[in-house]
Symmetry: C2
């Protein structure tokens, strides 16, 4: 690598601040702009608070940046799904094999650590309180308002990486160029967060090493543990319709809804109605675009592929972007812009695949996880994975615990589904799945060879 | 109808000016804004010049507006496709049954007529030279720049209908509202227009009552007749790649390309290279969005569903929008906003269907029309239509010559394709298709009952 130039990053969120570390370690000068105040001074970062689940793709990037250990100390492993029936009955379903888990982390805590660690590097320079107002892509110029002085500032760049999130100003500038493919698709469902504090005794109010789900077909509640022994619960529900946010306005309606559908949460969510009425109802969007590169400006993370949260892969896919880009820069013999171009070409299909998978998983979480047939399927798949570890990895494991490209996982998952449809038709399968000789089943035989 | 209010229309293109007539006839006061100068003064309307083919859906709306006859006088019937082989051989393929045709019209001429006719109505008021700069949807206010004085103007509205085209400022305002689904998808192909003048003897240079196609698999040239006996030809070609606009820059390249692929056009396109180099290369986009209604503002035509031109249904679908909306207002017992809402709910699936069909037809036009099997299929389908006129209408006829909702046509077309796949497998079909007893074929029997 002979080009030692400055790379400008627009947005110091999770992806931007991680990328700063990786690029700086590679020898680049990095300048990174963000609209928020310096979290090292204020000790608080604004923005979305929805819980995050770190899984293997995310960890790999954090390891490359040398900060995985520090982050793991504050992360809480969740080994599976804990399903809550209306009658209070609990069912636990492991995510993967023994020892495998996804990790609950706080978005703001993680962002804080990433900014702290990256700003220790000599070649990383942060510019906080700079709200990006526009980007002149042809003049390689970023425009900001300084949120303290209200003055307009501008800066030119050699290379710009837009890690400025789902509503990216960098992408907005690209969208004004010709032949920019773009889509934003909102779910008819929205979400609202609710806080479950630690018990008066200072304990977790629910089993901490699980992701809790109250699946109710058309809607669901989930809860993830926090380091302070509280949980953050999130209700996913339609905006409009009979059972919908629009009809949950009054104390009576809200209380009745929770009493009917989530009775076991009543003792652990204090001031439920007040929380419900005060906390915002937010929307869920999938954003796709192409190209991600315009001259010397590249989009990354949510800016290029914002997805719904149901596979827990929003942050993980963004971190994997960083890992892959860094990896390609490492091994590249071409100029940096050719690497950017190669990156977008290679990564687009995987971004599309995880967007698709995330949408599918909403159905699975809210509807199927309470379905008997579905649970049997999962058990059989887990057994196949045990028996044939290198030949059969369930889709969830491919996405969560492997580094198989998302597009490959989606394809293999579809094939597996066809086979499992056959397996589920086998006479007596519900009784003999633990003893049956799968190697004699035709569909599986073909799949394995 | 007891509400006699003013409806404001943003955009006096084909759809806006037709809608003005229909609404005025229904008793509404109509104010219509456009950025262009008054065509009755300048005798020229700017904007896109790509040829238009009027078909039954468009005619029905024009009839309702009482201006079909006037427009038909200047329209040229095209009874089928005239395919041009590289060796100059011509093949004619009728579009429908005897007597059926689509009609070539000039965009600017048609727009001029619509504006002239609508401005004769007492309750229609035009405001030209008003470039819309923004729309405040919540304050029901439109902002303009007067292109003569450069002054900023604003006006409030009771109801606004945005017929302001594929790059609609009205839609842009909606896009800034939450939960607005939106996509813009560009083809990798672009287009360039070329002029084929009348011959020195004052005749058409090609058969006038046909749409000419030079299908060349990955690209194609088409030509539509004009009233002045010229033709407008359009080359559809990839922007990038080996055979692509990017590689047609020099005189030598352009000449060689036409000599190789369209030799029979060389004698009839004068100053080919100059035209090619001077005329712009334009892009082709499909735009979808939802909802089309925000409070008292409705999108219509290209503003709500811009499609690629390959089925000749862009204008026709916009005119059908006008017809349907007008029809619903006529029969409605609800307030106008409920009608707007009903319209968008009913029409969206049809807009999506014609978008899909238009994309599919590009493949058909550039690739399949020169395919032997495909031509046989078309002949068999035409025969089925002849034998069973009420049971088998080919997809092209459903779209072009009927008023069957586009979504229904798409569905029936898919079913027909499956059946035709079977029919094409019949032993000896290429020889006996004119004599075979179709009523004995199982797939068809099932379809007919």
């Amino acid at each position: 690598m002979t080009e030692k130039k400055t790379i400008t990053i627009n947005g110091a969120g999770l992806v931007g601040s991680l990328l700063a570390i990786l690029l700086a370690k590679k020898g680049y000068e990095v300048v990174i702009y963000d609209m928020r105040p310096d979290p090292r001074e204020t000790k608080a970062l604004g923005g979305r608070s929805i819980n995050l689940a770190l899984s293997n793709r995310g960890w790999l990037a954090l390891e490359k940046a040398g900060i995985a250990q520090e982050i793991k100390q504050k992360a809480i492993p969740m080994k599976g799904r804990m399903m809550h029936n209306t009658d209070g009955k609990l069912t636990f379903q492991p995510y993967g094999k023994s020892g495998q888990a996804i990790f609950s982390v706080s978005r703001s805590g993680l962002n804080q650590t990433l900014i702290e660690q990256s700003s220790k590097l000599e070649t990383v320079r942060y510019q906080f309180d700079k709200k990006c107002t526009s980007v002149d892509l042809d003049a390689s110029t970023l425009y900001f308002t300084d949120t303290n002085t209200q003055k307009t500032l501008s800066t030119t760049y050699n290379y710009l990486i837009g890690s400025d999130g789902a509503f990216s100003p960098t992408r907005a500038a690209m969208q004004r160029k010709t032949r920019f493919n773009y889509s934003q698709e909102f779910l008819t469902h929205g979400y609202k967060e609710l806080h479950i504090p630690a018990t008066p005794e200072g304990d977790f109010a629910l089993e901490p090493n699980a992701l809790h789900i109250w699946p109710r077909k058309q809607f669901m509640l989930i809860a993830l543990p926090n380091a302070d022994k509280s949980f953050t619960a999130t209700l996913f529900l339609a905006f409009e319709g009979r059972t919908a946010f629009e009809n949950l306005q009054t104390t009576a309606n809200i209380s009745a809804f929770f009493e009917q559908h989530f009775p076991d949460t009543l003792p652990i969510i204090p001031a439920l109605v007040e929380q419900f009425q005060e906390n915002p109802t937010s929307s869920l969007v999938t954003i796709k675009c192409q190209p991600w590169l315009y001259h010397n400006t590249l989009l990354i993370g949510d800016a290029s592929h914002a997805i719904v949260p149901f596979y827990g892969q929003g942050m993980n896919s963004g971190f994997e972007d960083c890992y892959l880009l860094d990896d390609m820069l490492e091994n590249a013999k071409q100029p940096i812009l050719s690497v950017f171009d190669e990156f977008q070409k290679q990564r687009k299909k995987d971004a599309d695949a995880i967007a698709e998978l995330a949408l599918q998983n909403f159905i699975e979480m809210r509807d199927l996880v309470a379905d008997k047939d579905f649970l049997l399927r999962k058990k059989i798949e887990a057994r196949l994975h045990e028996l044939y570890p290198s030949n059969w990895m369930p889709l969830y494991s491919m996405v969560t615990f492997s580094h198989i490209p998302y597009s490959e996982a989606l394809k293999v998952g579809q094939k597996q589904q066809t086979i499992m449809n056959d397996v589920m038709q086998l006479e007596g399968i519900e009784n003999n799945w633990e003893t049956i000789d799968f190697s004699n089943i035709k569909a599986l035989k073909q799949y394995f060879t």
